[in-house]
Subunit: 430 residues, 2 copies
């Protein structure tokens, strides 16, 4: 029996919206947003889309009109009552009332600010300007929209059964990975794949497959909407955005050198336990840890997000030892370019030496590599970053020079200030 009402209702949509909720975003964006709302509510920032895979000519693949419709739709979204209730009433990282009433009131009234869209050299220039707490919430939906429009562009000429087989192949591929992970008893892996997912529905499928396939070893998802719908943990702490903007706001080299620690000092006041996770690589992990104040060594863990992950973890373990901490009590979160083989080898290498957890992103929610002609659905490296704060450009160095961003002269200055020496280049696939 066809539900006639559903069918007629579906015909009334002018578009098939990709992002349908303001909490279809990563949990750490909301945590950071609350921190920014408290500490830097008036800072003016510019966020910009950056396609690091230049061979993917997005402006030739994705129709501008469709992109505008999707972005306009996101601007029409408001936090719903149920979403607000979930954010106010849920337990996050074991804590109730993670979000203050002041922040929730602000969020309940939020409309995302306007966007600026232009085509240039086969790419889209998509930027967002305004106050930091508002603009920062564009990052994930902007990425998700472009990723999914690119998927749709590739899929639009395929037959019905060809499509079904495509998803069958993708399911087969992911389930094979899950089966590889099943024998690992003490695995802790979460979905970090919202931003570069193939599509919302596919991410939701992946999460449910992980729930069934890995049980309690699947610790949750970074996606708040999916965490809410599937009644699982929302996962995430903080990101490079905070030190990048804090650094851009610094008015001297000394203030610049101090800025990454200022970020974590603010965070220290707001959070404890498993939310005290250091992201040390923004301006080089080595220098960051050497110059870190002792109270940081008391934090729960470190997230390794660039450079060779095993090296990063060893560096963290040695640092904890040098500060008199027991690494076995500490948490190392791997979150950079993971796939199942890397997860397995890192787990083997570090389980027992420290607590280990994985934030599995693009290769969880968008591994369509090899599934269509010309590999037209292979994931690629798209980011949306703060590029300026109060008129000053931002800079990121990271532990992989291929991930560095910012004006060349500023990169040079940051390298000098933070004492960053030789770095090993690593290919950035996703």
């Amino acid at each position: 029996m066809v539900d006639i009402a559903t069918r007629v209702w579906n015909h009334k949509w002018k578009i098939d919206p990709i992002v349908r909720s303001l909490i279809d975003t990563d949990f750490y964006k909301l945590l950071m947003c609350q921190s920014v709302f408290r500490n830097h509510p008036d800072t003016q920032v510019t966020f910009s889309l950056i396609n690091r895979t230049k061979t993917i000519r997005l402006a030739e693949l994705v129709d501008e009109g469709e992109l505008r419709e999707q972005l306009d739709h996101i601007r029409s979204l408001r936090l719903t009552r149920g979403e607000s209730t979930w954010l106010r009433g849920n337990t996050f990282y074991g804590k109730r009332q993670m979000f203050t009433s002041a922040f929730m009131t602000w969020f309940e009234n939020l409309q995302l600010p306007p966007y600026h869209l232009e085509k240039k050299d086969g790419q889209y220039e998509l930027t967002f300007e305004g106050t930091w707490p508002e603009v920062m919430l564009w990052e994930i939906p902007a990425l998700a929209v472009i990723m999914e429009l690119r998927s749709r562009a590739v899929l639009k000429d395929m037959g019905k059964f060809e499509l079904q087989v495509l998803y069958a192949r993708a399911m087969t591929k992911l389930w094979g990975k899950i089966e590889q992970l099943q024998p690992i008893d003490d695995l802790r892996v979460a979905d970090f794949g919202t931003r570069r997912r193939h599509s919302y529905l596919w991410q939701d499928w992946c999460v449910q497959a992980m729930m069934e396939g890995l049980g309690g070893n699947f610790t949750g998802t970074s996606n708040c909407r999916i965490a809410m719908m599937r009644e699982i943990e929302a996962i995430g702490t903080n990101a490079h955005e905070l030190p990048m903007v804090y650094a851009a706001l610094a008015d001297s080299d000394q203030a610049l050198r101090q800025s990454p620690y200022d970020v974590l000092a603010d965070w220290h006041e707001e959070h404890d336990g498993n939310l005290r996770i250091i992201l040390p690589d923004t301006y080089g992990t080595k220098g960051f840890l050497e110059g870190a104040p002792d109270w940081l060594a008391g934090w729960t863990g470190i997230r390794v997000d660039s450079g060779d992950p095993a090296t990063g973890a060893e560096t963290a373990i040695n640092w904890w030892k040098s500060r008199g901490e027991d690494p076995q009590q500490k948490l190392v979160i791997f979150s950079d370019g993971l796939d199942v083989d890397k997860i397995i080898s890192l787990q083997q290498q570090f389980a027992g030496r420290c607590r280990v957890s994985f934030g599995w992103g693009t290769m969880l929610t968008n591994d369509f590599k090899g599934l269509v002609a010309n590999d037209a659905l292979a994931p690629f490296s798209l980011v949306c970053k703060a590029i300026a704060a109060n008129g000053s450009p931002t800079v990121k160095l990271s532990d992989n020079p291929n991930k560095a961003m910012g004006p060349a002269e500023e990169i040079a200055r940051y390298k000098r200030v933070f004492g960053v020496g030789e770095q090993v280049e690593m290919e950035v696939v996703v």
Copy 2:
């Protein structure tokens, strides 16, 4: 939006019926039934289930109560008005009114006769007795029910996503085969997989995938219900059942020797064109063709259903040449244990030398080999055959002694009467 009525309706089913239509059967059963209805309406026959794969202990896998419920449900089925309209109004093999009004009236009033079910040595003894036109229509639904109950028994402890991945893997597998067949320009392949399908829904999926993937090179399905629903050709001609029963009814060695030709003489009166297909292997292809009357050489083609298929086709080509016929005008239908590699190699070997077509069965609609633990869904060799007619046992020899059936002394007699010498044994997988 959930369609509440549908949901409530679904809850009212006491069982999930496997066979839901009297035309969820092979087209050739209906053609043969009409012939039997005309020529042998009162012949008493016994049909029996035979599991040639003894390692599959069906009575331990499939619950007797569930099996009875399914068989009882089949007995509750009647030809529906739409099905009757389709049989009366459709064009089959280019011909309107294939089914006579007398036959249709009989069919519209048909209820399948009772069954007899017992367990023995881990197998089911399932037999059907009564007049030939009624009993013969049990064959396909009985096989389909047991095949699908076996599938359900294996699937019942699997999780939701595990199940989805199972079907994803099966879809991936079949589509890979379809992609292998796509480059063959003049391929002609039909679905012959009803009797040993994994399930009805899966067969229906396979048919639709073939329609989309192969276009006009997919010539149709043997399944009448699916042919009706998908508006494609119903395919099939005649089977071993006819010569086996005719032979059992013969009252002398001379009549026995003549019986396979009597079958085709009756058929010759009723059908022309592409329905004049010889199935020569019931009592040995070689002897059959050598002794065949000349009018048989004028028939359209031959179906090769046992023995080495290439040898069978060469035998047919040489026979046509010896009778002054042009093999390039003749049709060879391969239908025994086909999978995609065999289809491709036979096509390469015979395309251009004769018209070639394929009836692809079990490995189209039930290739779940290797997809679950212990290969518990691998297809196996289940048949449902006429074992007696008017009190005499039936015998089949075929071109593969592993497919022979009947009492040993009768097999010896048939071999003598039909002059069958040495035969090459070939493994029967499906």
